[in-house]
């Protein structure tokens, strides 16, 4: 089972996991990303823009890579676009497998890779009325690169401490 989508509407993580549970599945892992309020407050919403066509291709490729690297019975990547307020869902990645290690690692891979390899851009709409574009984070590039240093490992990259 594979589901990849870019959409404005919300998703139901529970319903998606129910669809992932197929014959041969022994476990499922998932990550739900949520729009976070800034530490000092003041964020009214995020506005998410993407490159239609290219985004879907990029996400399908990440799913291909995860399926080639781990033994999965399914995977899901959903990314929302448009205007999203703090507390709302923004992204969902999940993987199912006969074994927990593959499901956990594939899920972490999907979300780490998505951050630097899929064409999405976030702008912060502030309560003051100002809007500014979010800058890319070096830590995200490092998380993406860490996976190529562990090309033959089925575990999480060492030292990430992300799960």
């Amino acid at each position: 089972m594979r589901l990849v989508a870019v959409q404005e509407q919300d998703f139901d993580a529970g319903a998606l996991l129910a669809r992932l549970n197929s014959a041969g599945t022994g476990g499922m892992a998932s990550f739900t990303g949520i729009v976070r309020q800034l530490p000092g407050g003041g964020l009214r919403a995020l506005r998410l823009e993407h490159y239609p066509g290219m985004t879907e291709k990029a996400l399908e490729r990440l799913a291909d890579e995860a399926e080639a690297r781990w033994e999965l019975t399914g995977c899901v990547i959903i990314h929302r676009v448009g205007r999203l307020e703090p507390g709302q869902n923004i992204v969902f990645a999940a993987a199912s497998s006969a074994h927990r290690g593959d499901a956990l690692a594939a899920t972490a891979y999907l979300i780490d890779q998505l951050k630097t390899r899929a064409p999405f851009w976030k702008a912060e709409e502030m309560e003051s009325g100002a809007t500014h574009w979010v800058e890319a984070r070096e830590a995200d590039d490092e998380a993406t690169a860490a996976w190529s240093e562990t090309a033959n490992a089925t575990n999480l990259p060492r030292g990430q401490g992300r799960l």
Binding site: G33, H79, I111, R117, P119, F120, W121, W133
Partner: protein
């Protein structure tokens, strides 16, 4: 070819896409940026610094010095910030 702009590049240029035929000799995305810069103040501002500019040729990420070839579309944008 179709040229697409995203995020603050789109805002500064004032459009999300356009159909343009760059002259011969424009053979990399960087050369295309140099040619676009002369098209107006919005372009000059958007491309004043190439460092934060990324591109995709026919929807594949490519470095700015990649051969341009004869693509159907090329997109210019800042580093991605999804997830």
């Amino acid at each position: 070819m179709r040229i697409l702009y995203f995020a603050w590049l789109r805002e500064r240029i004032g459009k999300s896409s356009e159909e343009l035929e760059p002259p011969p000799g424009v053979d990399t995305p960087r050369a295309l940026i140099n040619w676009l810069r002369a098209r107006g103040p919005g372009y000059a501002e958007a491309f004043s610094d190439e460092k934060p500019v990324r591109c995709a040729i026919d929807q594949e990420f490519q470095p700015l010095d990649a051969p341009l070839g004869t693509p159907k579309e090329i997109g210019f944008f800042p580093p991605v910030t999804g997830g």
